[in-house]
């Protein structure tokens, strides 16, 4: 058992005993060592004294060469039991007498050595001079064992052990009495604390036994108990209210949960009934959701694909790296060029076949993690239809172009023989007018008239076919253009006494010649088909849906409603040639010009009251960079 786990009572006792024990041990050791050194000194001193006495006594024996006497003197050493050997040497260093007399010679030094005594192992020995009246007569050798010292030490050791033992007993006895004064209040306090912690009864109070630190501790402890009691009460109250709250919250939560489950079911049903494939992937490109439509389009069942990397299933190999890089790029920069827009690309189905797919991807965040929602649609059919349509329109525009080319070539080539016919018929009329009979005159006039009309027709046809000749567009100030048109029409305006009013017109972007022709045709028509009153013509405009909407209003004869479309078809005429001259191409040309500028033309009219021709011109034509393409698109 470790000391730190022992009761304080035992700790105190141990501390006291340990301290007294170590103090005693140190004291005894010091005493012991002092004794050791002093005893050594004393032993040497004693031996030296003994030596001096023996030496003094041996002088005569040496002087008068009496070894027997010397032996006798030495034998007196028997009284000193620790002297184990002694010998006398004469003046010349020869052995003279031995003690004990029976000892072997080897026990003694062969001759005297340095004077004085010293310790050698467990013995002390040395030499002393034998002197009489300052005359050196010889040398004494003495050897003593240290038995005396050992005996003394033995005694000391026993004494020390006895003293230490006694001290321990005393220390134990005293400490067991004294420790109570310190440990008892602590023990009482500890037992009170233990009882409280076991029973949980905080109304118990510890008994105070004094005014010392432990008394303070007891007070503090009791104080603490009061506080705990109070806090416990508060805690209980709080617990009760907490439980109530928990119950309330649980009810709320259950309600919310139910709603959540319902809403999830709703989402699931919306998700599954979506007409498009809806795929959700996480930030590692693993599939999270896969709706019914996705199963149909791609062939993979939800449980086959959910949790697996999307790219391994539906993205063709050529796009896979781009897909992963795109995701990485998004996480790094927050940008994704394919996000939040519809793109068309190829996708793989379960059988490994590629098909066209319209895809839009939107990133979203759920609990701090990115999710990507993809809507995909199989556009194989619409793609096919689109390409068929393209093909058709291409064919159409090609045949249109062929026709126009044909019309142009035909009218151009027809002019040549017509010119011959016209010039010869005119020549015939000049030379043979009134020289033949009246019938011949009429026939010649009919022929001239017919050839003129044919020339007009051919010219008109040429104009019509030229409309689609591509010329660069330019900015046209319609006010200037209108002035020019009215100048050209000055004669007929004068003849018909027409009054033409125009608003301040905008600048448009288009083919100057064609727009000029458009206005000339429309205003010309308004004058030409005048009623009984002199023509009142109003040119106005406004912006409508970003386009320019022009209107030319007259008070002419008007057009019956059923003809309002027919009039724009080539060679369609409402009136006989006798009443209104014309080729029947004018409005067809107008229509073509308007369409050339991305607009529409129509008429609103009431017969007898007048007509209003409307046409639009695309305002944003000029913002399109590639005019050629615009043109082509328009033609198509």
């Amino acid at each position: 058992m470790l000391l730190k786990d022992q009761p304080i009572r035992k700790k105190l006792m141990r501390v006291i005993i340990l301290i007294s024990g170590s103090v005693l041990l140190v004291t005894c050791s010091a005493f012991f060592f002092y004794e050791y050194y002093s005893f050594r000194q004393k032993t040497i001193q004693t031996l030296s004294t003994t030596g001096k006495i023996i030496a003094a006594n041996s002088t005569a024996a040496l002087a008068f060469a009496n070894p027997d006497d010397a032996k006798e003197i030495l034998s007196a050493l028997a009284a000193e039991q620790h002297i184990v050997a002694a010998s006398l040497y004469d003046k010349d260093g020869k052995l003279f007498a031995l003690y004990p007399a029976t000892s072997s010679l080897t026990n003694f030094p062969a001759k005297p050595e340095k004077r004085g005594y010293e310790f050698k192992g467990s013995f002390i020995d040395g030499f002393a001079p034998v002197i009489q009246n300052n005359n050196l007569l010889g040398t004494l050798y003495l050897k003593s064992d240290l038995q005396a010292m050992y005996e003394r030490f033995k005694l000391y050791s026993i004494l020390t052990i006895f003293v230490i033992g006694l001290s321990f007993l005393l220390a134990y006895f005293l400490s067991s009495i004294l420790q109570k004064r310190i440990s008892e209040p602590i023990t009482v306090l500890a037992e009170t604390a233990k009882a409280i912690s076991e029973k949980g009864d905080y109304s118990v109070r510890a008994t105070k036994l004094g005014e010392d630190e432990l008394g303070l501790l007891t007070d503090a402890f009791n104080n603490m108990l009061s506080q705990i009691q109070q806090q416990n009460y508060k805690l209980n109250e709080f617990n009760k209210s907490l439980e109530q709250k928990v119950i309330e919250r649980t009810i709320d939560l259950e309600f919310v949960n139910k709603e959540l489950i319902e809403s999830e079911a709703q989402i699931q049903s919306v998700f599954n009934s979506a007409p498009d494939a809806v795929i959700v992937i996480d930030s590692d490109s693993n599939v999270v959701r896969w709706n019914a439509q996705a199963e149909i389009i791609f062939g993979w069942k939800a449980d086959e694909i959910i949790g697996n990397p999307l790219q391994n299933f539906i993205i063709p190999e050529k796009y896979r790296e781009r897909h992963l890089n795109g995701m990485k790029h998004f996480f790094k920069t927050g940008e994704g060029p394919v996000l939040n827009k519809t793109i068309e690309l190829e996708a793989l189905n379960k059988s490994g076949a590629e098909f066209a797919c319209a895809l839009s991807i939107a990133p979203t965040q759920l609990k701090g993690k990115y999710l990507f929602i993809a809507f995909a649609r199989d556009i194989t059919k619409s793609k096919k239809a689109e390409s068929e349509l393209k093909q058709k329109s291409l064919e159409l525009s090609r045949s249109n172009a062929d026709l126009e080319q044909f019309a142009y070539v035909a009218s151009h080539d027809l002019q040549e023989p017509l010119r011959t016919i016209t010039s010869y018929v005119q020549l015939l009329g000049k030379r043979y007018k009134d020289k033949l009979d009246q019938d011949a005159n009429d026939f010649i006039n009919f022929a001239i008239d017919g050839s003129n009309r044919m020339r007009n027709l051919i010219n008109s046809l040429l104009e019509y076919s030229r409309v689609n000749r591509i010329k660069p567009f330019e900015h046209i100030d319609m006010n200037d253009l209108l002035k020019d048109v009215l100048q050209n029409l000055a004669n007929s305006i004068k003849e018909s006494n027409a009054n033409i009013v125009a608003d301040d017109l905008p600048t448009v972007y288009g083919d100057l010649v064609l727009i000029d022709q458009l206005f000339q045709n429309l205003i010309g028509n308004a004058i030409k088909y005048k009623g009984e009153k002199s023509p009142e013509i109003h040119v106005s405009w406004k912006r409508e849906n970003g386009d320019y909407l022009f209107s030319i209003k007259d008070n002419g004869i008007g057009i019956p409603k059923e003809y309002s479309d027919k009039i724009f078809v080539i060679f369609q005429r409402l009136h006989g040639k006798d009443k209104y001259q014309g080729t029947g191409i004018g409005l067809a040309i107008c229509k073509k010009i308007v369409e050339r500028h991305g607009g529409k033309i129509w008429v609103e009219s009431e017969p007898g009251k007048g007509s209003t021709f409307y046409f639009t011109i695309k305002a944003n034509l000029k913002t399109t960079k590639n005019m050629e393409e615009n043109t082509k698109a328009l033609i198509a």
Binding site: N57, T59, A60, F64, P67, D90, L95, F96
Partner: protein, 187 residues
């Protein structure tokens, strides 16, 4: 000193090795060897016997060793005392061929040949602090103070304490330990 060194082997031999001792004694003339030891002993008497201050004319006067009769020590005694001092008194040797020639001295060695004159000697030396020494067999009976005698092949001493006291001399108890005390009344 040198003398001591020379006689040392003799001691060791006599104590420890009988064989060695025998061979040693046969190697030199007996008188010489014996008197060599006796010469040393004579010198050593100066170490263990105290003379009264009155025995000396002054603190620096010599301690005289006299030899009555023939000198049996050869140069040994001379060697033994040369350069030695006792309590500040240098040692010298004086030889007296006859009793009449005797002069004041502190130790008087009496040759065996002169023992018959001992009666006269006693009267001459009476009242003087002179240590009389001899190796004559009947020396003690004739009132001598110290006698050399040989016992178990060793030179030993016989001392007449009474006569020494009478001469006002003090003998060290250490010396007395070694010596055989002669008591004339007992005999």
């Amino acid at each position: 000193m040198t003398v001591l060194k020379m006689i040392a082997p003799k001691f060791i031999a006599s104590i420890l090795l009988a064989m060695f001792s025998v061979s040693f004694t046969t190697a030199q003339p007996p008188a010489s060897r014996e008197y060599q030891i006796k010469a040393i002993f004579l010198f050593n008497f100066t170490q263990f016997i105290e003379w009264p201050a009155a025995a000396f004319a002054n603190p620096g006067s010599p301690l005289v060793i006299g030899i009555l009769g023939e000198n049996p020590f050869g140069s040994y005694l001379h060697d033994a005392i040369t350069g030695e001092k006792v309590n500040g008194h240098p040692l010298i040797i004086q030889r007296f061929s006859s009793i009449s020639q005797i002069q004041p001295c502190h130790i008087l060695f009496i040759n065996q040949t002169e023992t018959n004159k001992f009666g006269q000697l006693e009267t001459i030396l009476k009242g003087q602090s002179v240590l009389t020494v001899s190796d004559a067999p009947d020396f003690m009976k004739r009132g001598g103070m110290v006698r050399f005698f040989t016992k178990s092949n060793k030179t030993q001493l016989q001392i007449n304490l009474e006569s020494i006291k009478a001469a006002n001399l003090v003998v060290s108890s250490k010396l007395l330990r070694l010596a055989e005390i002669f008591e004339p009344n007992k005999k």
